[in-house]
């Protein structure tokens, strides 16, 4: 049972503020992923929880107890880094057993604990080897084993699979997830890889320039991004963004982008919702993911004529660039749906998948149609 709470954390490196008023409550057994670019403060946050970094303001609570003044070793938290940091002169067995040396466990109990964790991580047959004789994935398994063997209150992981090649990364990611489900320990995991975050997390915490941008489940973060940064950080290809101006004619709202003559039809409710949100043309951005741009080969009600440009055939589907005025919108279509560049097709923006942002602040206006 481990809950972790961060209250009003501030952290400076010299004059540079790397964490700004961070608040976060992590539930028992939760798998939290801190997601962001390098320099966003995610690793500093993790290190502060572990006790490897002091904080300048705020409280870190573990099970309700403030720990910010406690030494790292007294917080009972395990940490796994990207570099494996194993003892090269010790065997795998000795490496895993090492954290138990200082405890008063009997030799038999230590042996049982090491063998149990090795079994879970499928490294039982490697116990007698030295780290130098292991592959990258196995080294990281050992590092995870060493972190887990003393049953810490929480497990902190800093890009633990970032140094592995793509295939192994996928394999290890699945293992980490499965291990978490089996062992059920509160986990905080840092990465810059959005697919990793989306696949592992119960909740994702997105950070940018030391500021928490959004906390939510993977589907929330994907479907209801709080601002333009989150919208473009999560999902690939990135969400289309276009300056938009909205008008109303004949009981229909019309969203114009890229100075195109025609506009995309939207339900009339949009204009009311926009004025409620105090949005103004000139400070309005339309965001839509490629799967929210619908393409037709024939003229259809509500679809506007556009010209196809570059087509990326990805096998299972295509990503098609559509010229809308002087703007490109990328659409996801079935494989081979649009024949080639220059083809005239028809497009519409699915109102249910459209996002509207305040251009100046980047904040989502929270309009859902």
């Amino acid at each position: 049972m481990t809950q972790i709470e961060l209250r009003g954390i501030e952290k400076y490196f010299g004059a540079v503020q790397v964490i700004k008023n961070l608040n976060l409550a992590i539930a028992d057994n939760e798998f939290i992923v801190l997601l962001g670019q390098s320099g966003c403060g995610k690793t500093t946050t993790l290190r502060a929880i572990a006790g490897l970094e002091t904080i300048d303001e705020g409280d870190i609570l573990i099970d309700g107890q403030p720990v910010q003044h406690m030494k790292a070793s007294d917080r009972d938290i395990a940490m796994v880094f990207q570099s494996f940091s194993l003892y090269p002169h010790m065997t795998v067995y000795e490496n895993i057993a090492f954290p138990l040396r200082a405890t008063r466990m009997s030799r038999g109990d230590v042996d049982a604990a090491v063998r149990e964790i090795a079994r879970v991580l499928r490294i039982s047959d490697l116990l007698a080897r030295k780290p130098s004789a292991l592959s990258g994935g196995d080294m990281q398994r050992v590092a995870i084993g060493r972190a887990l063997v003393r049953r810490p209150k929480a497990m902190l992981m800093d890009e633990p699979i970032g140094a592995l090649d793509a295939k192994l990364r996928e394999e290890m990611r699945a293992e980490i997830k499965r291990l978490h489900i089996k062992q059920g320990s509160t986990t905080i995991y840092v990465t810059h890889d959005q697919v990793e975050a989306m696949s592992l997390a119960d909740r994702i915490v997105i950070m940018h320039e030391g500021v928490l941008q959004q906390v939510g489940s993977p589907s929330e973060v994907y479907a209801r991004p709080a601002n333009m940064f989150v919208a473009q950080f999560v999902g690939s290809p990135v969400m289309n963004m276009a300056d938009a101006s909205v008008s109303e004619t004949g009981g229909q709202a019309r969203v114009e982008v890229g100075g195109a003559a025609a506009g995309f039809d939207f339900p009339a409710a949009l204009t009311g919702r926009l004025s409620q949100a105090k949005a103004e043309n000139g400070n309005l951005t339309l965001g839509v993911r490629p799967e929210g741009v619908l393409v037709s080969r024939e003229a259809r009600e509500g679809f506007m004529p556009v010209e196809a440009h570059i087509i990326e055939p990805l096998g299972s589907h295509d990503i098609v660039d559509l010229k809308v005025g002087d703007q490109m919108l990328r659409a996801r279509t079935k494989s081979g749906f649009v024949a080639g560049p220059g083809e005239a097709v028809f497009a519409r923006v699915d109102p249910a998948q459209a996002h509207f942002f305040n251009t100046a602040t980047g904040a989502s206006l929270g309009i859902r149609l």
Partner: protein, 359 residues
């Protein structure tokens, strides 16, 4: 503008054959991508065309002329590498001017200025022209490298993993830019990469290299839909094609692990009983409560727009299926699956060669 042909190229380094009897043709104005793992011979091919290496055997023709005796400069090719070999103490403008200032070329100053301006506009680096190159981001540096290649209007562009060092978002953006550029220039591009997404999304044609040999050449769609063997099947597509060992019996596919899946008799070959490998793309494998295959959910990768489920079947075989984003699945949940029988590709169980290609 150039047409390139490689005929029976072999290149050995000591006792190691980097390329084995390679035949390759790149049409004028084509975006050709060589796809392969490290050590497959991609970079060697590029260096041979550039004139930086000499073939052990075989001929290289540019526009029909044998270029064996031509030096690198005479071949008039531009090379863009993963590391941006820019002059750090020069401004972007000076870097772009440099290839034109060589005494052999004798380009008039007015024309130099004109060409630099045009390239800067094309690559959207006009605002960077007076900046030193060490003050640029990775993406900007790679744009300048490409600009330096374009500015002298070479006959061929050779690109060696130019996007590999960039982060994912930037790579995605530059992919489109590069393709756009090639279309506007109408130039011949030979682009080398290990990244199948780059190959699929940019190439007019893809050549798949394995261990010094060209395994298959074709459009991205051809390679994706009709791979010549199991190697190519796994080399393109993300996630790659699922391969299931089994046999055909009584109009059904029988997996070695025991489960049976429907098979379209339409393109059945006289293959009953013979050891086969069934190839099926993740998007053609689906979950359905009444389906014949049984599996457990091993992992779920969430891409937002869809999910990729890894299934563990009876043995320890892992299969991947693309499912809609709304599908809720728990790890270790028992599920049932089947495939779209129309989309199954048959490979010989021993050689791995596609039965369609074997004839």
């Amino acid at each position: 503008m150039a047409h390139i042909e490689l005929k029976g190229i072999t290149k050995t380094f000591g006792s190691h054959a980097a390329l084995k009897n390679l035949d390759l043709e790149i049409a004028d104005g084509e975006f050709f991508v060589l796809l392969g793992q490290t050590g497959a011979g991609k970079t060697t091919t590029l260096r041979l065309i550039a004139g930086l290496e000499k073939p052990t055997a075989g001929k290289i023709l540019i526009d029909g002329e044998d270029v064996a005796d031509w030096g690198a400069a005479e071949r008039d090719v531009a090379l863009v590498l993963q590391q941006y070999s820019l002059y750090p103490r020069y401004t972007v403008r000076e870097n772009l001017e440099f290839p034109l200032k060589s005494r052999i070329r004798r380009v008039e100053p007015a024309e130099i200025a004109e060409r630099v301006a045009r390239v800067a506009r094309t690559l959207r680096i006009e605002h960077l022209l007076d900046r030193k190159t060490d003050r640029l981001s990775g993406g900007e540096m790679q744009r300048v490298s490409i600009g330096r290649a374009i500015v002298r209007k070479p006959r061929v562009f050779l690109m060696d993993e130019p996007l590999s060092a960039l982060d994912a978002k930037l790579r995605e953006a530059l992919r489109t830019e590069l393709k756009n550029l090639q279309m506007n220039l109408g130039a011949t591009f030979l682009f080398v990469t290990h990244d199948q997404i780059e190959a699929m999304s940019m190439g007019d044609k893809i050549g798949v290299l394995n261990d010094g040999q060209l395994v298959q050449t074709g459009t991205p769609q051809e390679i994706y839909r009709n791979p010549v063997n199991t190697f190519v099947a796994r080399a393109v597509g993300s996630p790659p094609m699922n391969l299931i060992a089994g046999t055909l019996a009584g109009g059904e596919a029988v997996a070695t692990e025991g489960y049976r899946l429907p098979f379209a008799s339409g393109h059945a070959v006289a293959a009953d009983g013979r050891p086969l490998t069934f190839g099926i793309r993740p998007e053609d494998l689906f979950l359905d409560g009444g389906a014949p295959g049984e599996a457990r959910v091993h992992d779920v990768e969430n891409h937002g727009v869809e999910k990729i489920v890894t299934l563990r079947t009876g043995g320890e075989t892992l299969l991947q299926a693309t499912v809609p984003a709304q599908t809720d699945l728990a790890i270790e949940e028992a599920v049932r699956f089947s495939w779209n029988p129309e989309k199954v590709v048959l490979f010989d169980g021993g050689s791995g060669v596609s039965l369609r290609h074997a004839g």
